[in-house]
């Protein structure tokens, strides 16, 4: 038996690159891939302090949807969803991208009004969206408890049929393989410890494997963005929090769509392998510890049982946490920074996985041209000064 081929090289860093991407997660790898594919920029290194896609890319609940309320969000997430629809073929890899439909449940009149409004807003933005009443919810997802006697009865739901899930590891491996094939260096075990900045321009990064010069440096570091930005003398409006998720033991197929509920606060899908994948909200406090508290899991399980009484005897197999960077308006920060040649793509908070290809696409454009991609423009850092926030906190569906 021979060992399967490696999907990418494991190169030593060169002395200089045109572009250095800090962070080898989904967004960093997608950015590298689109720098090469869309802009012909291949003298690129992706520096990853741990191993490729071992941070939030390995810890998320893989939900993909684009049914955001505001025009700016709908535009960027729908761009991303369209890319997902062709990504497996393009990367020649089975991403297990499954458009099984995403339900966002409504449990109160307020939820119903908000949901209907979002369906209408989505349609105006070319995003597929439907409103289902409780009977239609039951038809679409028979195991959801729509009894009127529930503590928080299901009064309806929005449905995005094109939403779904994908296999996160496959996405990372496929992007890494293609980026590597373009000649991009994916360098693991290489932590950025500082930046050399002269006359307001970044010249190089200091790393655990020595100094590496760079024409441009692009942060794609999720929960650790604040730590890196501080080393470059930049203050960002981000707070890092634990976000927990869990899987159950493997079950026979029982749930063939994604169910999210803002009010009781849980989101659930069943992975191809058979485990139920569930997530909820962040732990309240700031943390870089990649772990959260059990009472948060307990509240999440209570919510899951409220919706799916038949899960009451399912066993939890594994829980974990990632570190998510939350911005004040729950929208990402993409674009230039006060330091010339230094770019930021952060603040995706609890919902970055779905944006992986779209984020990489607009970030690569922003880096290549030195100015924001039109879809990224509204997400510039200066919105916190101008006041043009994109407030998706309550307006989107659940905690992303």
């Amino acid at each position: 038996m021979t060992h399967p081929d490696f999907l990418w090289r494991n190169p030593d860093p060169k002395q200089a690159y045109d572009v250095i991407i800090v962070g080898g997660g989904g967004h960093g790898l997608a950015t590298a891939y689109y720098l090469a594919r869309n802009h012909g920029i291949t003298n690129v290194a992706v520096l990853e302090k741990g191993w490729l896609a071992g941070g939030n890319m390995a810890r998320n609940t893989t939900i993909i949807r684009s049914n955001y309320l505001w025009d700016e969000s709908a535009a960027i997430y729908e761009h991303s969803l369209k890319l997902w629809e062709g990504l497996g073929d393009e990367l020649d890899y089975d991403l297990q991208f499954s458009q099984r439909g995403v339900l966002n449940l409504a449990h109160s009149l307020g939820d119903v009004r908000e949901g209907r409004r979002r369906v209408n807003a989505n349609r105006l933005n070319g995003v597929d969206a439907e409103w289902l009443d409780a009977d239609e919810v039951k038809k679409f997802c028979p195991i959801v408890n729509v009894s009127e006697r529930a503590r928080y009865p299901v009064m309806g739901a929005t449905l995005q049929r094109r939403g779904g899930i994908a296999k996160h590891d496959h996405v990372a491996w496929a992007l890494a393989r293609k980026a590597d094939a373009y000649g991009i260096d994916l360098i693991q075990g290489c932590e950025v410890t500082g930046f050399e900045i002269a006359n307001g321009r970044v010249l190089s990064v200091k790393t655990s494997r020595g100094r590496i010069a760079a024409g441009k440096v692009a942060l794609a570091s999720a929960g650790h963005t604040s730590v890196l930005a501080e080393r470059a003398g930049i203050r960002l409006p981000l707070q890092s929090h634990p976000l927990q998720a869990l899987v159950s033991e493997l079950l026979e197929p029982v749930l063939d769509c994604v169910v999210m509920s803002n009010a009781v606060h849980v989101y659930v899908s069943q992975a191809h392998k058979g485990e139920l994948v569930m997530g909820a909200g962040i732990d309240s406090y700031n943390s870089y510890g990649q772990r959260g508290a059990f009472h948060v899991i307990e509240a999440q399980m209570a919510a899951a049982l409220e919706l799916f009484p038949l899960f009451s005897r399912v066993r939890v197999l594994r829980t974990w946490a990632g570190v998510v960077d939350v911005s004040p308006d729950a929208s990402p920060i993409i674009g230039t920074t006060p330091v010339d040649g230094l770019y930021v793509n952060a603040g995706w908070g609890t919902g970055g996985f779905k944006a992986t290809p779209g984020s990489g696409w607009v970030y690569a454009h922003t880096i290549a041209h030195g100015e924001p991609h039109p879809l990224a423009e509204p997400f510039a850092l200066d919105r916190f000064t101008t006041g043009a926030l994109i407030d998706e906190h309550g307006a989107a569906a659940v905690a992303h």
Binding site: V227, Q239, S240, N286, Y288, H295, F384
Partner: protein
Amino acid sequence: MLLIDCPHCGPRDENEFRYGGQAGIAYPDAPGELSDGEWAGYVFMRDNPKGWFTERWFHAHGCRTWFAVERHTVTHEIRTPVQEIR
């Protein structure tokens, strides 16, 4: 779950408390005179250190006292601030 030492009630479970974020953010003396950048700083910009952090907690399900502690954002160890801070 964190065990948080309320100055009034003593050590209590985390889920009795509400988190208040960074401590020591005072309301500006003359808000009308701030530039947009300074106002953004007051409203949105907060420290986000990997390490010791001085933060506020609110004993929502207890004595309803607001108080500050120092907590390490990796180990979650909690200690009382050397200087009193609000």
